[in-house]
Subunit: 242 residues, 2 copies
DNA sequence: TGGGATTTTACAATCTTTTTACAAATGGCT
DNA sequence: AGCCATTTGTAAAAAGATTGTAAAATCCCA
């Protein structure tokens, strides 16, 4: 289960380039893991895998002492085909290999590169997984479901309220709904709800959640003033009851 | 069709690319025939024809000594219209020719390309040609259709606006319209709209899309300032409503 | 080189999310 | 029961992020 953020792993032995990239990508809002050689990167990927927080994309320098970017690319592809890969390569024979062998990298950039170009390619590679003209919310199987006294359509980001009105859902509200629907009949702590809907690196206050629950109640309760489905468990958290 | 397997013919003179492609496609489970120039490829197709095992799809490099991919494409289309064709081309004038001439290729990919993208396009092309014998070619649904408060004529690349004026559509706008019309009532993410209208290897920013939506609104909304048909879903994307 | 199409830029406008502030409710305690 | 500290409800303000769009810059073909 990933956070909201996009995670990028860098494997690059040249420190100047590595830290430069890391800084630039952080500024762009990506979560960055920078590794100074291939084996460290390989290890980082495996560690991340165990914690279920795989990088979304890896930037691999082709020329590195020890495990090369080529090998790393193959390894990562073999074990985690869902991770996107961009190779950083010098012009010349190195580039030929990239083009010829096509190791399964999604793209490559030849050094020296302009930062703007790399950023553009990163965006493009990350975008490809979105598929063409598919609903914003993947999973065509995401069928509408009942939530409290309302009907939620996750593909359309909409809810039919008990009064029959059709209202739009914001992304945050939908995530919150999904957190509740996954655990009916169980009181959920504010922390775990924040974690589920906002991600583990959320630093806001807990009142944010209360506010959103209030909004949700207005949408899915017949009588929001005395909630039946989104119940307060004083001192514990909130509980969803079908 | 023939056996169970899908048969792909490659015509590409660069050995590195040819064998790389052949390997990659084999791994994907396709049956591959790799040819190093146009005349060998032409011969291979004819031999296959005699044995009743035509390729389902041909990947043709445009720049080849001897018979070019252009000629090959025309020949194959003439003799075996059921074979799908994807052209491999460099950017620039080569690409212009592909777009301009009525070669009848099902798709094209500009070199250098990412393997992932080519595979995606292969799947898409095969899906289309397998789907129905209906000619999914160029002018698929050539009939004018209603879009928002306007009437779009895809053949003439024109739109009759709500005010009754006849305006020209650019290719980009038309593709965007088609992406919307395929998913009414569902919010589409900026990413998937970019993929649909600009292609998956587009490196521009997402604001380009916003700009085009604004242009579209001026064409198809009665009151572009408060759109009814091309609706913004804040934080999600855009949604087309009939 | 000219003219349209496309893309980027920059700033304003809009919408969502978060925080704040205070009222109300709860539950432990005597 | 009554008191009090704590927790929760919620309107409204503030902060933050996203989107609208005109205008400038760039691209691209004829």
């Amino acid at each position: 289960m990933s956070d909201g953020g996009i995670r990028i792993l860098i494997a690059e032995d040249d420190e100047a380039i590595r830290t430069g990239l890391a800084d630039a990508l952080s500024v762009e809002g990506y979560e960055v893991v920078a590794c100074e050689d291939g084996s460290i990167a390989a290890k980082a990927v495996e560690d991340d895998a165990k914690r279920g927080r795989l990088p979304n994309l890896c930037l691999l320098d082709v020329m590195m002492p020890g495990i090369s970017g080529f090998d790393l690319c193959r390894n990562i592809r073999a074990g985690h085909p869902e991770i996107a890969i961009i190779l950083l390569t010098a012009k010349g024979s190195e580039l030929d290999k990239v083009l010829g062998l096509e190791l399964g990298a999604d793209d490559y950039v030849t050094k020296p590169f302009a930062l703007a170009e790399l950023l553009a390619r990163i965006r493009a590679v990350l975008r490809r997984s979105a598929g063409s003209a598919a609903p914003a919310r993947g999973a065509a199987s995401a069928k509408p479901f009942r939530f409290g006294a309302a009907e939620v359509d996750p593909v359309r980001y909409s809810v039919r309220t008990p009064s029959g009105a059709e209202e739009n859902l914001t992304p945050t509200l939908l995530k919150l709904i999904e957190a509740f629907i996954a655990n009916p009949g169980v009181p959920l702590s504010r922390d775990s709800l924040l974690n589920a809907a906002w991600g583990s690196s959320y630093y806001g206050t807990t009142r944010t959640l209360d506010q959103h629950v209030a909004i949700l109640r207005k949408l899915v309760e017949k009588n929001p003033a005395s909630p039946v489905h989104l119940v307060t468990r004083h001192g514990i958290g909130y509980e969803y009851r079908m």
